[in-house]
């Protein structure tokens, strides 16, 4: 079984580039050039330097002893939360901004839901001295006010999107429309392993530094490169794609993708795409997608703003369909409990997204002799308001 993208842009039956002709030249230019640019020694050197000195890589692989005791297995946390701007998102934006410069682009656009990718994009645009426009659903600009202010402080223009349901999927639509209207001078930095080919593959490559480091670090600590489990949360799926990347063809490594069940998979308020989705097309990609019987895309729900995307990256759809990865759905309540648990056991406040992965530890079935690597994709600072409100309400009910 091959889990990499094929030359036509597909992972099994998923992927492709389902885009209107107006986007074709932009996407085609990327498709033709991304691999050769990524392989240039100068590009690699510049990217490695930035990842080291600016982002702060390699991120530690931390043996979480008290968490390990709690689950009676050996757990390592891959500390993506320690990256500059607080999450794995910047691995991708650093790569794409260097790519955009080589393509001669003058203007950068991005979509953002919770604002993490928007902040990571605004950050690298400041670094590169390029104009930055971030599309964000109007509802999200209100829910995530501090990130809006951060982006503005970094010099970006934040455009509140009022079309459709005014959230991430509509922000993505609006960014795509912007790109249609600027076919020559603009690069679109997509924040996840979604969108038309070559985006899912390109973003996965930029995130693959996560699993590259895990292999090296595990060899130092355990005398072996391969863990028994790699666990990561999946919204669009970029941190999971990066954490899985160098283990895809290692059948002994069990891959665990954790989705947001929201209030429960069957509650009507969920983002568990691999269970609730059907094959369809969203943002230029054929993938699993939450939709009505008539093929209208529906609005997902999760307490985590980073996981409520109605689709999932096409590679993850393929991993789900082939069974290469195990998909687990975690509710809001389970994730919030895991968030509090890690805070108190290890002194690390995780992002709510990453807390979904933590909550899955009880379900993966790892034993005392197993080594589990959990990708701690982001830190919880951005979620403080949500966290406080959640626990206040919960305490109020008790």
């Amino acid at each position: 079984m091959n889990y990499a993208v094929n030359e036509r842009g597909y992972y099994g039956q998923f992927g492709g580039a389902y885009i209107p002709e107006m986007l074709y030249p932009n996407v085609e230019e990327l498709r033709e050039k991304y691999l050769s640019i990524l392989q240039e020694p100068e590009f690699q050197a510049e990217m490695q330097e930035l990842l080291r000195d600016y982002v702060g890589r390699p991120t530690p692989l931390y043996h979480a002893k008290r968490l390990s005791e709690r689950y009676n297995t050996k757990i390592y946390l891959k500390r993506e939360d320690l990256n500059h701007t607080g999450a794995h998102k910047i691995n991708n934006t650093v790569g794409q901004i260097l790519l955009a410069k080589r393509l001669g682009k003058k203007r950068i656009i991005a979509e953002t839901g919770a604002g993490q990718h928007g902040v990571a994009t605004a950050t690298v645009c400041a670094l590169a001295g390029l104009e930055c426009i971030v599309y964000m659903g109007r509802i999200d600009t209100e829910r995530q006010r501090p990130n809006v202010e951060k982006m503005r402080l970094l010099g970006a223009t934040v455009v509140p999107v009022t079309s459709g349901s005014q959230t991430l999927k509509d922000a993505t639509n609006e960014a795509i429309r912007d790109w249609i209207n600027h076919p020559e001078d603009t690069h679109y930095i997509i924040g996840s392993v979604v969108g038309p080919h070559p985006y899912p593959d390109m973003v996965a490559r930029f995130q693959s530094v996560i699993s590259e480091e895990i292999r090296k670090q595990l060899l130092e600590k355990e005398g072996r490169e391969l863990p028994d489990y790699v666990v990561a949360c999946v919204g669009g799926g970029s941190n999971a794609a990066g954490a899985f990347y160098h283990f895809l063809d290692e059948p002994d490594v069990k891959l665990v993708a954790v989705e947001a069940a929201g209030l429960g998979v069957d509650s009507g308020h969920s983002a568990a795409t691999s269970i609730l989705g059907k094959t369809g097309i969203i943002h230029g990609s054929k993938t699993l997608l939450m939709q009505t019987e008539d093929g209208q895309i529906t609005e997902p729900y999760s307490i985590s703003a980073g996981l409520d995307y109605p689709g999932v990256g096409p590679q993850h759809a393929h991993l789900a369909q082939t069974g290469r990865a195990q998909f687990i759905a975690i509710t809001d309540a389970e994730a919030m409990e895991a968030l509090r648990e890690l805070s108190r056991l290890e002194g690390i406040i995780p992002a709510i997204e990453s807390s979904h992965a933590l909550a899955a530890l009880k379900e993966v079935g790892a034993g005392p002799d197993d080594v589990v690597v959990l990708n701690l994709s982001g830190r919880g600072d951005k979620d403080l308001n949500t966290i406080l409100t959640y626990f206040e309400q919960q305490d109020g009910q008790q």
Partner: protein, 259 residues
Amino acid sequence: MANNRLTRLFQEKSGNLLNIYFTAGFPKLEDTVTILEELQAAGADLVEIGMPFSDPLADGPTIQASNQVALENGMSIRTLLAQLAGVRERVTLPIILMGYLNPVLQYGFERFCQDAAQVGVDGLILPDLPFAEYEEEYKPILERYGLSLIFLITPQTTDDRIRKIDALTDSFIYMVSSASTTGSQVQTNEAQQAYFAKVRQLGLKNPLLIGFGISDKPTFELACQSAHGAIIGSAFIKALQQPAEVRENVRSFLQQIKG
């Protein structure tokens, strides 16, 4: 090679073709057929009926909003095809259904083609269906039901790609006037005229209709100087929102364009 009302229209009439786009189920769910009948009476040459979608990527604010209203009104492919059943007793205009691929895939691509052909649809515009996938997977299905698939070209489309599209399609080519979503104000400039001239000089077998930014009599007439006709969408959607009764809105808009 499709032989339908669309291909026959282009054999019979070679210029000033007026193609009107409207969204099915807008402004009211039951307006679809009324608008069709009135467009025929008022002298449109062909029509494009938009199948509403929750996420219309290539469309500007006017058509997006009409899609949303139509969905709230309860429009779906199933409902649209039911509305069109029997319409061929009264309407002889070529009918094109325009929509995004996802709802069509959920309906079932082949079943959709079969049912659309059954009610008298002549062609389809599916802007997010990639050309390569069309060629390999979908072309035989469309041919089986005598449906033409219409492709878009833009100022950025290369000559080679235009020729390839021309070779593999058989009704007309939708020439997008500038890099934009629908409903944008198009400025006529030298670059655009050069693009129109370049495409004309390719000597394509298919006629060309210009769309995007055509909103009134002057822009329609200008487009017709460079192509076989033009497509009006957003401006017509706006006209449908005028306070008068829907038939009256259709009539007065077409009078402005053709009068």
